[in-house]
């Protein structure tokens, strides 16, 4: 694609424009031109097919689906049969999907491609619940029978470390194991499959029946979503994280604001985010009702993927004249740390305005807020404070790799301490076995499950009634900075109390 066209998209191509958190003059300068230039890829040679024909401008999402459905061009609203590159399932929905696959395609049927099905037990692992344990067994039997290449098994529940294949939270494992590649179509039997969109691919959650179908056919019928564009510009303040950005957006458009739509995140701020932060951004797209989220791939993406995948991939990018349903602009430098108050992810409030909310516990974990970067962030706050937490603080690393990082990575500015040391000195609970943990409650004996009505600040993704266990539990969704700050005071706390 020629990178000489630097004019910002003309207003006729965008149905609605919204500007937020800005002083008018600042936001509208040549930043919008810079966005366009960044969309021109710097690295790989791209064939005309991936750039999109000049006649039919398409968004990133449209291009992926066009290629996957072997069509030269697509428009939002079209229903197309799409080739699937990766299908992921886990212990909660896998057995059901497998049951449907066998029922519909035959007891002796084989999956469409044994290398494209990735099976990751992660939800209800460290529990005595017999059905939960049985569900992992069902996965194992199926993987043996089908000779599934990627099955991250766990057999010894008493010690996750002795299970060399076990990873943990599926969305983080997919990324860490190199299954997320730009331009591809990744489906999963989990709503947060949209996380993988951070790699510039189409990734969305599906149910058991759809998954059963994909297992046999390797294709799925999808409607092409229109794209909402979110332009995030401005220097990221050092007290903000991607979680704050996505809470800002969801608070803006509501839990149904992106229903049936794609959410595309661009802008200088987004370019400056590392992969895990981009994953956090895309992770909560489903909380706005979104079908999928995407971040255009760039050198950050390619660097992350080096050594993780041996498969080649071909990134695509939104055409400069692509049509977006709406565009929202944010001056990130003006934003402040946020929480989502009970009981909805769009119940947005400034953290500092909730400082009188007394809390009972803090939970740091999940695909949303349990990655290495998330724990580094929390450690930063504890380090800055030097004090101990005032409430039980649960740490649940998403994967084995994250757990290892917590125990080996040095926290900058700490004089060589690891996250784990900082957490211990702050009085946090010992980091737990990696899994989804209490993010969604789970069986009664799940570590950190909310079995009584408590007030919890959590780095997770949903806070509907009963989400973490007890129906009357009150969950404040927050960034790892905010969660750590809140742990230190025993109240919902703006991290600037410690980070400035």
């Amino acid at each position: 694609m020629a990178s000489s066209a630097f004019a910002p998209p003309s207003s006729s191509l965008i149905s609605h424009k919204h500007d937020f958190g800005l002083s008018p003059a600042k936001c509208k300068r040549s930043h919008s031109r810079r966005i366009v230039s960044v969309m021109a890829p710097q690295q790989t040679q791209r064939t005309p097919a991936s750039t999109g024909s000049v006649k039919t401008a398409m968004t990133l999402t449209e291009k992926i689906l066009a290629r996957a459905s072997e069509k030269p061009a697509l428009m939002p609203g079209e229903n197309v049969w799409v080739n699937v590159d990766i299908l992921m399932t886990h212990d909660v929905c896998g057995p059901g999907s497998i049951g449907i696959f066998k029922r519909e395609f035959g007891q002796n049927a084989k999956v469409w491609d044994r290398e494209k099905v990735v099976i990751i037990p992660d939800h209800y692992i460290f529990t005595a619940d017999e059905r939960a344990n049985r569900n992992v067994d069902i996965l194992r039997d199926f993987c043996k029978e089908q000779d599934i290449k990627y099955f991250y098994d766990i057999t010894d529940l008493s010690n996750f470390k002795v299970n060399p294949d076990y990873k943990g939270v599926c969305h983080v494992a997919l990324a860490q194991e190199g299954h997320c590649r730009p331009g591809e179509v990744l489906l999963g039997t989990d709503s947060h499959t949209c996380t993988a969109g951070a790699f510039g691919q189409f990734a969305t959650g599906i149910g058991n029946t759809d998954a059963g179908f994909v297992l046999g056919a390797g294709k799925i019928l999808l409607k092409v979503p229109p794209t909402l564009r979110f332009v995030l510009d401005g220097e990221m303040p050092d007290y903000l994280l991607a979680k704050d950005l996505i809470l800002q957006i969801i608070g803006e458009i509501s839990v149904s604001g992106a229903t049936y739509k794609a959410m595309e995140f661009v802008g200088s701020t987004v370019e400056g985010l590392n992969m895990e932060e981009r994953m956090t951004l895309c992770n909560m797209v489903v909380e706005a009702g979104g079908k999928n989220g995407v971040v255009p791939p760039d050198s950050t993406t390619y660097k992350y993927l080096e050594g993780k995948t041996s498969l080649s991939y071909e990134p695509v990018y939104s055409d400069q004249t692509a049509r977006f349903l709406s565009e929202y602009r944010f001056d990130v430098s003006k934003l402040e740390p946020l929480v989502a108050k009970p009981h909805s992810p769009d119940n947005r409030a400034l953290a500092r305005e909730c400082k009188d909310v007394k809390i009972d516990r803090v939970y740091i974990g999940s695909c949303t807020g349990g990655k290495t970067e998330d724990f580094l962030a929390a450690a930063k706050v504890f380090l800055a404070s030097g004090k101990k937490v005032k409430v039980p603080t649960f740490l649940v690393p998403a994967t084995q790799k994250v757990w290892m990082d917590i125990y080996t990575m040095e926290v900058p500015g700490s004089g060589g301490k690891t996250c784990s040391q900082i957490f211990e000195e702050a009085g946090c609970d010992t980091p737990a076995s990696p899994s989804c943990g209490a993010c969604l409650g789970g069986p009664r004996d799940t570590y950190a499950r909310m079995n009584e009505p408590k007030v919890c600040v959590s780095t997770t993704n949903r806070n509907f009634p009963g989400r973490m266990g007890h129906k009357e539990g009150q969950i404040y969704l927050a960034s790892p900075y905010t969660a750590a700050a809140s742990a230190l005071t025993g109240y919902v706390t703006d991290p600037r109390e410690f980070l400035h």
Partner: protein, 255 residues
Amino acid sequence: MTVLSCSLDRLFFSTYRPRHHLPSPINYGSNFKIISSQNPLKKNIAFQKSKSTPKKTTKISSSSDSAAISTTKKTFHGLCYVVGDNIDTDQIIPAEYLTLVPSNPHEYEKLGSYALIGLPSSYTARFVEPNNTKTKYSLVIGGDNFGCGSSREHAPVALGAAGAVAVVAESYARIFFRNSVATGEVYPLESEVRICEECKTGDTVTIELGEDKLINHTTGKEYKLKPIGDAGPVIDAGGIFAYARKTGMIPSQAA
């Protein structure tokens, strides 16, 4: 291995209204015939029906024959259960019950007993009474964004297993809608106005699917529903696989 014709295009998305691309008219009727239906197994005894309605089960099924059904003349009659906006999947079926595998018939029934058990205690009437597996409410009436949250198919399955036949909501979250159609468990119908504010749990309600109408006999009011479109026949047949087999689109079993 499957070859599904383009006519299935509109299956899941009859309620979607794209803003800058009007869908081409549905060319449904001439291409396929529903020549048989599965045995009607309407589980809710309190539910009256004007004609036999096919209702899927998750048992191992082969296409068994029964009366041919017309998809346009379906009537549902029963008590309604009213909920509000943003009823998410954790309220429909809390995560602790997700160890139950829906494709396992025994666990399917158990799932039904937990349908809507996650609703807060402000809902004084339980959807399914304790120690029961079936509900006396065959229709659920909701507000905006019904079924938001997780992609868990257990959500529409639990409602269907409990004996609900349809949900009438102002709008749906997309995965829930899609799962409802794919499983054929409940009809995800859409209302034009906020019916949830005008109906009460326990009202007697009739839905005339062919006329896109909901009648609340207790209040005497009638409401227009949005047409279910192509999703209707899929649910009638018992879900996407059953529909595809019935219409000759895929063989009943692959090698």
